[in-house]
Amino acid sequence: MSQPADLNLDHVANLARLALTPGEKARFSTQIGDVLVYIAQLKEVDVSGVEPTAHAFPLFNVWAGDVPQPGLPVELALKNAPAQRDHMIAVPRVVE
């Protein structure tokens, strides 16, 4: 189907930190294009003077008391880390 000319999949995938295969690019470009065509019907709605809704029941200034609480022990917090060493998450070197 038609595809919005301005969907630059490489640019958006880069923003999303997502590596796509050429096959995925071809498929997604058509599929997401179809969805964008469908979504375009929102242009016909008159929204002048309408406030946006971010939450159905917004709550503001939800504070928690500044009270120390027990947290996860280090071993438990790191249990799901893909790589760890000396109670730290191991990652490739990021500074020269």
């Binding site: 995938a13 930190r17 979504i39 019907q41 709605v45 249990k79």
Partner: protein
């Protein structure tokens, strides 16, 4: 006993447990045996921990022997969707990204279930990260509809709905972002309730779209759903969107609230695309309410047709932000081929996420990106206001709204390969999430080919007690909920 123990509702099992006619261990063993016998066909579970389930059952029996049994949930196996944390158990979201993840802590809903004595039972399959309407997007397995194994159970909480329908769990928890509890409940012939946004804490639920997600119960009966909701509802400081609402006794409310109610029928929910058998079943449910003395009023929800479009902007925008945390650094899948930090992000996410999750992340990133935000995201939020206003206007006139839950009964596996066609399955459920309202689906008939049909009732914010009573009034005049699939 009148039927197999694994098909009995919580209420009946609660009496049997209290009278010591059955022990929790015996009940858990029956559910385990049932699951082992049929789950190779239904595929509702990603995994289960038999020893842990039996240990919880034994603990319940010990409480009872000591005269310290809790309420009606004590000793009842409640299945948990594999997107809700249970300490020490796997938490996969049916994604390769979290294939080896183990929950370090309990979700608040889980903690409350345990406090009520329930057995947190198994990890139930879902569409990856709860994104889908058929459970076909799971990275691990496709759950089948217990009423017809060639068909889908709905989604995203397809494992939860199928497990309850098939007698592999007495009840279950799911999550609902655009219909993910109600639609599978309808397709599998069980009761599913999506609470008002903020009624049940989201702490420990893997976030998909934070302004829409809610945890809710599946049960065989409206009363079972009421019992479960009572156990998991309530304010929680660990969820800053949790509402300080008063929690009534939902179960006791069923007997007290008698109606008659003013019920709205929105013509937009009976437009093109509705299956004639679904329409007929819902019309006959409406006729039943009329017979009970309820006033049926025609109402209009004029922005209904925009709900799916609004949802696929807002939900994908929120998902692209929420799923940014899966970067291969702190937890989850890390690519073995990555050479530097940035490379870890790109490759881990490419390897860890399935196609639907990737599509939604890309769409959500696009609608939030510089130059498009106003045209898509901001406009969608404004139309969301109009959709919400439609409902609130309707509630000036009526107590609740009756609709079909899904335009069709369960469809064949593989029938909706096109993402947009799949998105349109949720056309009757999505508006409820956008407006933050409570909604329930309950069985209201079967198609000629034997597939369950669901009635959706949409309630007013935080008036679950009324919503449940209205649902119960229908259920009491019918026996759909007593029918079980042959497996």
């Amino acid at each position: 006993m009148s039927s197999e123990v694994f098909f009995k509702p919580i209420t009946e099992l609660g009496s049997l447990l209290a009278a010591k006619k059955i022990s929790s261990v015996e009940l858990m063993q029956a559910v385990l045996a049932r699951t082992k016998a049929i789950d190779s066909k239904v595929q509702a579970f990603n995994s289960f921990d038999e020893a842990d389930a039996l240990a919880q059952a034994r603990a319940s029996d010990e409480r009872r022997a000591a005269g310290q049994a809790g309420g009606p949930l004590d000793g009842i196996p409640v299945g948990i969707k594999d997107v809700i944390s249970v300490a020490g158990q796997p938490l996969t979201a049916s994604s390769k990204m979290l294939a080896n993840f183990v929950s370090p802590y309990d979700a608040t809903a889980t903690r409350k279930l345990k406090a009520a004595g329930a057995i947190c039972w198994g990890r139930l399959n879902l569409d990856e990260f709860a994104m889908g309407s058929s459970t076909e997007n799971s990275a691990f397995k496709t759950t089948c509809n217990p009423w017809d194994l060639t068909r889908v159970p709905g989604g995203s909480s397809g494992g939860s709905a199928a497990a309850v329908a098939a007698g592999e769990a007495v009840a279950a928890l799911g999550s609902d972002t655009g219909g993910s509890i109600r639609q599978p409940a309808a397709l599998c012939g069980v009761v599913g309730l999506k609470p008002t946004y903020g009624l049940v804490s989201r702490y420990g639920l893997i976030a998909f779209a934070s302004s829409l997600d809610q945890i809710g119960p599946f049960g065989r009966t409206v009363e079972d759903a009421a019992i479960l909701l009572g156990a998991i509802a309530g304010h929680d400081a660990n969820d800053s969107t949790s509402f300080k609402a008063e929690i009534p006794d939902y179960r006791a409310g069923l007997a007290k609230r008698k109606g008659p109610w003013k019920l709205g029928i929105a013509k937009e929910y009976f437009a093109e695309g509705i299956d004639p058998e679904v329409n007929a079943a819902v019309q006959s449910a409406i006729a039943h309410y009329k017979k009970l003395g309820c006033e049926i009023r025609e109402i209009s929800l004029p922005h209904t047709k925009y709900a799916v479009a609004v949802y696929y902007i807002i939900a994908t925008a929120e998902c692209s932000s929420n799923l940014a945390r899966f970067d291969g650094i702190r937890y989850g899948h890390r690519s073995k081929d990555a050479t530097d930090a940035l490379d870890i992000y790109f490759k881990s996410r490419a390897e860890g996420f399935g196609p639907e999750v990737k599509r939604r992340i890309i769409l959500g990133t696009y609608v939030l990106s510089s130059g498009y935000y106003d045209a898509y995201y901001l406009r969608a939020q404004k139309v969301r206001t109009l959709i919400r206003r439609d409902f609130l206007n309707a509630y000036q006139e009526v107590d609740a709204i009756l609709t079909p839950t899904s335009p069709t009964p369960a469809f064949k596996r593989g029938a909706k390969a096109d993402p947009l066609a799949m998105y349109l399955c949720d056309i009757y459920t999505i508006g409820v999430n956008l407006a933050g309202l409570p909604g329930i689906s309950l069985p209201c008939g079967f198609s000629k080919s034997g597939l369950p049909i669901g009635l959706q009732i949409i309630g007013q914010p935080f008036k679950e007690a009324d919503l449940l009573a209205i649902a119960r009034a229908y259920e009491q005049g019918h026996d759909w909920h007593t029918k079980h699939p042959t497996l």
